[in-house]
């Protein structure tokens, strides 16, 4: 948690309204409890204390949570298995997995680059290249992500059955750099710099397949 988060957090804790229950609600709940208590007492005690439904619900919830935890742990192990030199590659894999598991993959769903590109305008301090690779590698859409302390664009492509996330943001000084591949058990990451932008492509596709995407992207940016 960063200092900025601490600052925002304390601002919220100090100044945001923590709504207190109105007195009439307190009275309603108390009244309901005493009624309900009597209602339960009037019934045979067994069904009142042994309802299968809530149990099943708790088990379901607990089960789903356990699976979620297991996946998170697995992902952590996968990501931490990598070598020292590709720390950013780990961040990229992390973001890729997050986009698939956690929240949502696309903010703007469109295969049309003329829809996706303007969507980023005003959301970023740079204009990410949005490259159409259809029909072999169709564009699914775009997403705003947050990596290494900055908002970045993510383009989502489909390569056969694989999802490919391509993150793009300005490089620090470099104008071009050849592709480097990183493998993180099950995920492949490609990194290169072109036209002053750094590209990070990530997928569970194998290196040969991922290379198809990178080759096409590099060829397209060269023509700009």
């Amino acid at each position: 948690m960063s200092e900025r988060d601490d600052e925002l957090g304390s601002l919220i804790r100090e100044k945001a309204t923590r709504h207190a229950a109105p007195p009439h609600l307190r009275a309603r709940v108390s009244g309901m409890l005493s009624q309900e208590g009597i209602g339960l007492a009037a019934r045979p005690p067994k069904p009142a204390v042994r309802q299968p439904e809530p149990w099943r619900r708790w088990f379901n919830m607990a089960g789903a949570f356990a699976v979620g935890m297991l996946l998170s742990v697995t992902v952590l192990l996968v990501v931490r298995g990598g070598a020292e030199d590709g720390r950013m590659a780990q961040t990229i894999v992390d973001a890729h997995v997050r986009s698939l598991l956690g929240e949502h993959l696309v903010d703007v769903k469109s295969s049309d680059r003329h829809t996706v590109k303007p969507w980023f305008t005003g959301k970023l301090d740079y204009a990410p290249p949005v490259i159409d690779l259809a029909p072999e590698i169709p564009l699914v859409g775009g997403r705003l992500d947050y990596l290494g302390q900055r908002p970045v664009s993510a383009l989502i492509y489909k390569l056969n059955l694989h999802t490919v996330n391509v993150f793009v943001w300005p490089a620090n000084g470099e104008t071009s750099k050849d592709v480097t591949f990183y493998a993180r058990q099950g995920f492949n990451v490609a990194y290169w710099v072109a036209n002053g932008m750094q590209f990070w492509a990530v997928s569970d596709a194998n290196v040969g397949e991922l290379r198809k995407v990178t080759d096409r992207l590099i060829a397209a940016t060269d023509h700009h």
Binding site: A16, A41, P45, F65, S72, G102, K123
Partner: protein
């Protein structure tokens, strides 16, 4: 809060696994419920009020949640009452809002609703932007206008002071999702608050 009759089970985890109800005197059960769960009425109302953004709906959801909580009290069994209750409150709220926004469902991007906020601040010096002069009304408004999953995460974390793990259980999502929701919610809030600040100075 009075921890009446709970000490002998203090080692149990929430949610509990496989414990049977005791089936002892029911008025004792009511008393235990009142001692353990009723103190969290304000927390319950606060969450419902933030999620539903309306005091009448919030009161209805809380009443519904307490009824369910009382009936399912045996599923608590010495665990932490507050996250347990808030899980039920959240479910009541979402039932009230309709099946379409049930737990775990992904949030669709909504241009009308999200586009104004889906822009984390972009310059290199965001520290300078948050003014201590931001008043409660503006802060409340910014939180209220967050999409619900982000609002939920922020309220549980900052106002109810729950751990990531507790929030993950309440929201029924992996911890990683809680962290990314919080991060995104904070970006949206910073953006909103700093932009408002500029508007005021202008």
């Amino acid at each position: 809060m009075i921890e009446q009759g709970t000490s002998r089970e203090s080692g149990l985890q929430w949610p509990p696994f496989g414990r049977k109800g005791r089936g002892s005197a029911l008025d004792e059960r009511t008393q235990r419920f009142e001692a353990m769960v009723l103190p969290h009425l304000d927390a319950a109302y606060n969450l419902a009020r933030w999620l539903l953004r309306d005091e009448h709906s919030a009161a209805d959801a809380v009443q519904d949640a307490f009824l369910r909580a009382f009936r399912f009290f045996d599923s608590l069994e010495g665990g932490e009452a507050r996250p347990w209750l808030l899980t039920i409150v959240r479910n009541s709220c979402y039932s009230l809002l309709g099946k379409r926004r049930q737990a775990g469902e992904q949030v669709e991007f909504d241009e009308e609703r999200d586009s104004e906020f889906a822009q984390p601040s972009i310059d290199g010096d965001p520290e300078a932007q948050l003014s201590r002069k931001i008043d409660s009304a503006r802060l409340d408004d910014a939180i209220e206008r967050l999409p619900s999953v982000y609002r939920e995460a922020i309220v549980l974390r900052e106002l109810e002071d729950l751990s990531y793990e507790e929030i993950a259980r309440i929201s029924n999502v992996p911890i990683g999702t809680v962290m990314s929701r919080l991060s995104r919610a904070r970006s949206m809030l910073r953006e909103r608050l700093s932009r408002n600040g500029e508007g005021e100075r202008a």
